[in-house]
């Protein structure tokens, strides 16, 4: 009987053949931790008696969630993590380099065929580069560092067969929003999502980042999409033709329209036409799913000819310093500033209501981020609509949600 990708991956880690439903104790290839959930990991590590680190893979600390620090509590969190890192031979990525999930792929730390775990649920983003990623809680991570392994149940797999290509103004964001609307916010609970694009389906990395990132919004434990560059490690986890899947979904990309997830669930997905006219106070572009160079290009296409609507706050956050620099070289930052946008340094910022654009009561925001839960970006009475970068930028110039295929 053939194996799915995740069964092959976990067989490699376990050192013997495993199948969906098996429990394994194993060491991931990489562990990464950020500045908001890291401090809790350090306090759990203390409860373990601060033992020597037994985990033999790579550990990376990233300071991205509240960077630059907004208050002394967030500044102290970073200080404490830096202290732990230097005392335990852990790599700290220089502060300000960017948002971890996008950044570690950009830096080559997450390579095809790897298995990575992180302190963050969006560690699933690794799937964009042909790697498996899964989030873990802080205490789980502390115990993994102390003992060397952690446990996993080998998940069942949902396969998504993709054909055709995306129309203009539709992006990876719309692909994943459509999938979530079809299967529901717990439709892939505990599962691995394995994406099989047909040979003529083109999905560039930036689209794959958006897709992989939000698989967790359907409850997925992990996911994988074919990378641009195949490695031996990736070849060793390619699914067998006779692999056994729990379920499958067929997706014709050419039918995917710009979509919007309305409050308060990423599963409340509507065609952009059906929410056209909704007034917005803020537009927020950028996070670990859609702070990419392509997203900035898409936004710039809209802002090049149109200024931000009066009364709307438009905030743009390149996901990494490199993306920021590229956007600067390409003139995009100038376009944003001329149009009346506020450009932020790379940070998680208001994506999780942390800083740099937190919403007031009754404020409506349209954003290319990944969650629109109640209170996600600030006041419990605020509202967040999720959409691709064209749709979000178009709303910034019109002051209300519009269908970019009709207006531009």
């Amino acid at each position: 009987m053939g194996k799915t990708s995740i069964e092959k991956l976990f067989s490699r880690l376990a050192g013997h053949g495993v199948k969906a439903g098996d429990f394994i104790w194993a060491a991931p290839d990489l562990v990464y931790v950020h500045d908001v959930l890291g401090p809790m990991m350090l306090s759990s590590y203390k409860k373990l008696g601060n033992p020597k680190i037994n985990y033999t893979g790579k550990v990376i600390f990233v300071y991205d969630h509240i960077f630059p620090p907004k208050d002394s509590a967030s500044a102290n969190n970073i200080r404490n993590m830096l202290g732990f890192a230097s005392g335990n031979n852990i790599e700290s990525i220089p502060m300000g380099e960017g948002i971890e999930h996008t950044l570690l792929i950009e830096r080559g730390a997450i390579e095809p065929g790897m298995f990575v775990v992180g302190s963050d649920s969006h560690t699933v983003t690794a799937g964009a580069n042909g790697a498996f990623g899964a989030g873990l809680g802080s205490t789980d991570l502390a115990c993994l560092l102390a003992s060397g392994t952690t446990w996993f149940m080998v998940p069942e797999t949902m396969v998504i067969n993709m054909t055709g290509n995306l129309p203009r103004f539709s992006t990876g964001k719309d692909v994943i929003l459509n999938i979530i609307s079809k299967i529901g916010v717990d439709g892939a609970n505990y599962m691995s999502m394995e994406f099989h694009p047909s040979s003529d389906t083109r999905l560039q990395l930036d689209d794959r980042l958006a897709i992989a990132n939000m698989t967790v919004e359907a409850g997925a434990k992990t996911c994988i999409l074919p990378p641009d560059r195949r490695t031996d490690a990736y070849d060793s986890i390619i699914w067998d033709e006779d692999a056994v899947y729990r379920s499958s979904l067929d997706l014709n990309m050419s039918e995917i329209r710009p979509s919007v997830a309305v409050p308060y669930s990423p599963g409340n997905v509507k065609d952009v036409r059906d929410v056209a006219g909704t007034k917005v106070d803020q537009v927020y572009l950028g996070n670990c799913s859609n702070g990419t160079f392509s997203d900035l290009q898409q936004a710039a296409e809209v802002f090049r000819k149109n200024p931000v609507h009066e009364g709307v706050t438009a905030i743009i956050v390149p996901a990494t310093r490199k993306i920021y620099a590229r956007a600067l070289d390409a003139g995009l930052i100038k376009t944003f500033i001329d149009a009346g946008c506020t450009v932020s340094p790379p940070t998680c910022g208001a994506c999780a209501g942390l800083h740099m654009g937190v919403l007031a009561r009754d404020e409506v925001c349209i954003s290319n981020t990944n969650r629109n839960f109640r209170g996600r970006m600030g006041d419990p009475g605020s509202m967040v609509y999720l959409a691709n970068s064209y749709v979000a930028a178009a709303a910034a110039v019109e002051g209300k949600i519009v269908d970019p295929t009709e207006v531009f």
């Binding site: 908001v36 873990l136 789980d140 003992s147 717990d186 609970n189 409850g219 999780a352 942390l354 969650r371």
Partner: protein, 161 residues
């Protein structure tokens, strides 16, 4: 006598432990638990109370603060029709009792309850009925039996508490 707090489907971790407070201490975070949907929750919970929810409880973030604030407020058992994977795993790790409801339940907000975690049973004292739930399985059950993943790991490392 313990009472039940009842919540619906898809209660996410931003509602349970809002992001804007996560960089602060647990004592501060817990006072904001559920504030988006039930602002009086932190003040009303008393030690030993239970939480009953619908499907996909704890969806969203990996933040362990979500089960921790419930526990710190005094919630002693969380049962739901279904859980998001990270919340379930984190709850067991930190030693919060948790179970998946079998069949249906008639427990309503404020009902008085008594419960037997090991037996997987909640008695609705207000109504005289019983709700059953199944406890964690596999590796999680082993961890739960040691009282959470910290004592479990200490034992594995050959150190006891």
């Amino acid at each position: 006598m313990p009472k039940a707090f009842v919540f619906g489907d898809d209660i996410d971790t931003d509602v349970i432990a809002p992001g804007g407070y996560l960089h602060l201490s647990i004592d501060q975070v817990k006072m904001h638990s559920m504030e988006a949907i039930f602002p009086d929750f932190p003040k009303m919970v008393e030690k030993g109370d239970i939480l009953v929810a619908g499907k996909n409880f704890g969806s969203g973030s990996s933040r362990e603060q979500a089960p921790v604030v419930l526990m710190e407020l005094g919630i002693s058992l969380v049962v739901a029709k279904g859980f998001a994977r990270l919340f379930f795993r984190n709850a067991v790790n930190v030693g919060l009792s948790i179970g998946t409801i079998i069949g249906s339940t008639d427990i309503a907000q404020g009902d008085l309850v008594s419960y037997d975690v090991a037996g997987g049973e909640i008695r609705n004292v207000s109504k005289g009925t019983v709700t059953r739930f199944s406890p964690p399985q596999g590796a999680l059950n082993d961890i739960l039996n040691e009282g959470g993943i910290v004592p479990y790991t200490l034992k594995k490392l050959g150190r006891s508490k």
